[in-house]
Symmetry: C3
Subunit: 192 residues, 3 copies
């Protein structure tokens, strides 16, 4: 091997590197090169106790738009269609309502279908524990008759600064139309 | 050319590569290197039939906060200011209300201006067709007197796992204040 | 140094570069390599004048779900729990309500706690000035008794196409329960 051959070999390699660099980093930087392995994983439970006129002390949520008893719309009799519910639910690490809360789930949900129970959620987890400070923000459809439902984690603050991901909701338990317990498996795929 | 010159040349090239590598991949990784060419493009129509007290069977949406007839606020008489509408609208591939729906648009919109029709939307497309499973979540202002309005695609699940983008709304047709048909051009720029 | 040694050295360097390339660009591309230096920073004020039955002309927002005076739920007497407010507030560059607005803050907030004033926000900044065209969309919890509160910038359109970030809210001034002025420090960390 002489200089020329070595130089040629070197040049070829450089070209390959540049090509890879350009293909890998510059072209379509937001496609297909992302890991589907979560960068953070957490499980929480939250507990929704809907105000029924008698449970003022314990209630954590209240129907504020078109409840059936408000006589606003006949549609509310159909799977609560049109009900708007505002909530401030305790978040716990296990499925016990009386466990020390690690934060509050705050926001609203609406029932948005005549034929079946289905809701849409916009809310935040506001953490206030030794383990987590900050908040995660969620939005998405919650077809609650399905065993699992995926919604989007659309942003975060504090410990969860700029994070994004997907949260899977499961109805862990319910009692009539007053108490709901949701299990949430949070998987963040974009961590800062 | 002797060894030294070759070595020098090689080193210079390495330095250049490293510099490019650092500049292109590490510094300001979320700026200017992104393609504005969508990684997914789709067009859908959705059909909103507002409950008017008489169209129970066909209605896909209902005013649940401060309708004018609820006498809650005089402001509702001004371009529906304050109206909160919950909807579950069929999504079709063309502009025909009776085409087989590929999913449902579910969420809420509010009318939020006294002087002109303007709304704000928080909703999801929940797909359930052979072509698409999963959901896309949207949020944004909809100044509906404008020909086109851009809102954000803030997340997705299933086939649209973690996707982000921009959706352009156009009022394709309307009949009085009962039927609205919206054309949505969805462009996703961040695909996983 | 002979050819072989040079070749060996070259190969080792190539290997190192490839390794760095793979580690830096391909593996976990959404973790830890991001700058926490904002790519855009802006400060705005917005002015919320709540309709109280007498201020029709100036009002920029209205309680549409379960106001205390609507007698829907006794809970509204407790820190407005359950109130849903729709707003269309002017945005200004300084803290003067009468400065020329650069856009409108449009959306909704809810009061979502019995024990203390706390709200949840879903809204957009719709810009319409020589400096900015387009919109920014926000969502998050607003524990308004805290001096500063962080919410998420979940997307943008126009000049703010696809942007994401964090916005810090501060109550700049208030008069009774009718006028609120919020200062918003917007920091975008993901710019396109």
């Amino acid at each position: 091997m002489d200089y020329r051959s070595l130089k040629h070999q070197t040049s070829t390699l450089f070209l390959t590197i540049f090509l890879l660099l350009i293909l890998g980093c510059f072209a379509s930087p937001r496609k297909s090169i992302r890991s589907r392995r979560p960068c953070k994983e957490m499980v929480f439970y939250f507990h929704d106790i809907i105000y029924n006129g008698k449970n003022f002390k314990n209630a954590t949520s209240v129907i504020v738009g078109s409840p059936a008893w408000g006589n606003h719309t006949i549609l509310a009799n159909y799977n609560h269609f049109g009900n708007v519910v505002v909530f401030d639910d305790p978040i716990t690490l296990d499925n016990n309502l009386h466990s020390p809360p690690v934060g509050r789930a705050q926001g609203l949900y609406i029932y948005d279908k005549k034929e079946i129970f289905t809701s849409w959620l916009g809310f935040s987890f506001v953490f206030n524990s030794t383990a987590h400070k900050g908040s995660l923000n969620f939005a998405g459809a919650d077809p609650l008759m399905n065993k699992t439902r995926d919604i989007s984690v659309i942003g975060g603050t504090g410990d969860f600064f700029m994070d994004r991901g997907v949260a899977t909701l499961m109805t862990d338990s319910f009692e009539g139309e007053v108490y709901f317990r949701l299990r949430v498996d949070i998987k963040l795929y974009e961590c800062w």
